[in-house]
Symmetry: D2
Subunit: 121 residues, 4 copies
């Protein structure tokens, strides 16, 4: 297997299946307990932060970034993205993943919008 996402048209279901096979072939499931995966996620978010840490505010679309840096960013984002897909085994089947109306991200953004009028960049 070379790449699971030749196009972004791949479904989440397909991604999860491919990742499960990939881990199984390598006998890595033994490491994928919930808290091991969670700490791995924290590590990956840390690596993502290291890309941005000394830059001050960064423009949307990263117009002045080198191609190499954008590549690095894409890799770290993939890592951050993959772990929640593995962690969600066992979370409620009733919850619809990425239900935007209920998402805390969105309510947080709404709250932030109300609170920070005039402060945001």
């Amino acid at each position: 297997m070379s790449s699971v996402m030749e196009k972004e048209g791949v479904s989440l279901e397909e991604l999860k299946k491919r990742m499960a096979e990939f881990a199984k072939e390598r006998d890595w499931d033994q490491f994928h307990s919930p808290r091991n995966l969670l700490l791995a996620l924290v590590g990956e978010v840390g690596e993502l932060s290291e890309i941005f840490q000394w830059k001050g505010e960064v423009e949307r679309g990263l117009p002045d970034w080198e191609e190499e840096e954008k590549q690095h960013l894409g890799e770290e984002l993939s890592d951050v993205f993959a772990i929640p897909l593995k962690l969600c085994k066992g979370s409620s089947k009733k919850h619809t993943l990425l239900d935007l109306d209920k998402s805390n991200v969105n309510s947080d953004i709404a709250a932030g919008a109300a609170m920070d009028q005039g402060h945001q960049q």
Copy 2:
């Protein structure tokens, strides 16, 4: 719009499109600078960690968790999952998102497997 993922068959492309529309309708794009999104991701990972922090090691599949807790976990995972999809605007087009062979997650796991033989739970 009530839910973007009635089924996991939804594609990443579709998810990104729906999230973009959702933010646009609410005029939230003004808040979605790269470092704002990154710190929001850190906040969401923090909320995810709070679910697991005082539990000691947790069994795969979460067999003894209450339905409410699993629901909460599903919501937090959705939040963590959504932000990298927004952040990847500007990362390299050449990088194939979730290319498992190149992913650091996987090389880290391989390294971990080699190093921790005999230590893992």
Copy 3:
């Protein structure tokens, strides 16, 4: 006990001793396993990030922040600060805590300085 740091002249040794007594009186040591504490730290860093997440770049010294927000920041910083002091039980006695010449923070900053000339805010 009302406060361990009436003045910043308190020593780290004294802080650690007071925190240990505080936890012991409440029988909280049972929760303070290394990975529990680590996840608690991640949760606290998440709360710290939530203070900053929708603000865009923030001026040093926080000149335009409300007193209430500065108070909140101080509380979250205390939490982030306290956990490493508890976690360091078991880390090498030979390592001198906060040895600035060896610290990765500093080598990272040095690397950042070299790499980001012209990019930083």
Copy 4:
């Protein structure tokens, strides 16, 4: 300067002063904006997590860790510890750093203790 903490009897005030001098000598203050420091903290917490990520639950005092690993842990903890001291410039002077009675860490632990009776390791 070789080491700021020959003994843990060093005070926080002294630590902050030494760190400020260290940064000033190297002209690093230009990088130390609040959100830069915050992302650096996230990066350091990520490195700390990487030490623990594939281990499953870890015993207090780390009895079966190699000296080298303990050394590494000590270094990462120093980094995590140092950044909040730099970030607290601007947080409220009225807040007494590490006031244990008010700390969220402690109220979180209390809540966790009540909620997780029977679950903790």
